[in-house]
Symmetry: C2
Subunit: 116 residues, 2 copies
DNA sequence: AATAGTGGTTTCCTTTAGGAAACTAGTTTC
DNA sequence: GAAACTAGTTTCCTAAAGGAAACCACTATT
């Protein structure tokens, strides 16, 4: 019984950590944006828009702002003509690599399981 | 340029896989429910409700149904008095362990990063 | 002068997610 | 007979997510 209580309170913290992660990455597009940046490196706004299939510019803009606020990506304006804007993962953003690989692998695994 | 095209089309499939995963687990509660079942094994409805802090019975019921439809958990009614219902991860559900551990670890890592 | 490309913003709308509270129905304990 | 526990369902509501289309300001090309 003592074990059960310890397990339960230890569990709460771990479950909360899952919630933190999902609060940041939950939603239809954010994790796809990060995955795309992981696979392609630095990208401009329109490149991202073309690569992340189906996203509306408004949504892309909003999600990029939120990801920047959370220090997962950087936004740098290049004074070219016309001006271009580059988005890139921060070192902290790159720590999502394992998680995103797992999400990719499991998605493939699940698709195979359902089509069994 | 040829490389860029190949990278891009290969990328699409991987990004789609991420989308599949998030479609199933995105939302506030599903991944927490699975995480709780991973940590505690077989659980009854009320046990889950107490363990997954803050979830409303309606939401718990609905999410459990969806997880069962996707073959991630099983629901078995025990003919005890009063009847009890046991929820348990399927083998397929247990393949989410790596992903969930990554989500946990990254949540903790991110919290530390922000509190730097 | 018109067209296209840059990186977005604005407006309007629909859908979905989620929450609070009350309720159901059967069983068992007090 | 009242209270409490089992496992949910029903109703009503709000907030957030997301999408379509138009628009904006600037620059470069034709």
């Amino acid at each position: 019984m003592k074990q059960k209580i310890e397990l339960s309170s230890q569990c709460k913290g771990q479950i909360r950590a899952i919630g933190d992660t999902m609060e940041l990455l939950g939603g239809k597009w954010k994790i796809k944006i990060i995955g795309t940046l992981l696979l392609n490196g630095t990208m401009r706004f329109m490149e991202l828009k073309r690569a992340v299939d189906g996203i509306a510019p408004k949504k892309l803009s909003k999600d990029l702002q939120e990801l920047e606020l959370n220090e997962l990506i950087t936004r740098t304006v290049k004074e070219t003509k016309p001006i271009t804007v580059e988005y890139e993962l921060t070192p902290h953003g790159r720590t999502l690599e394992n998680l995103i690989n797992e999400a990719m692998n499991w998605g493939i695994h699940h698709r195979n399981h359902i089509l069994k």
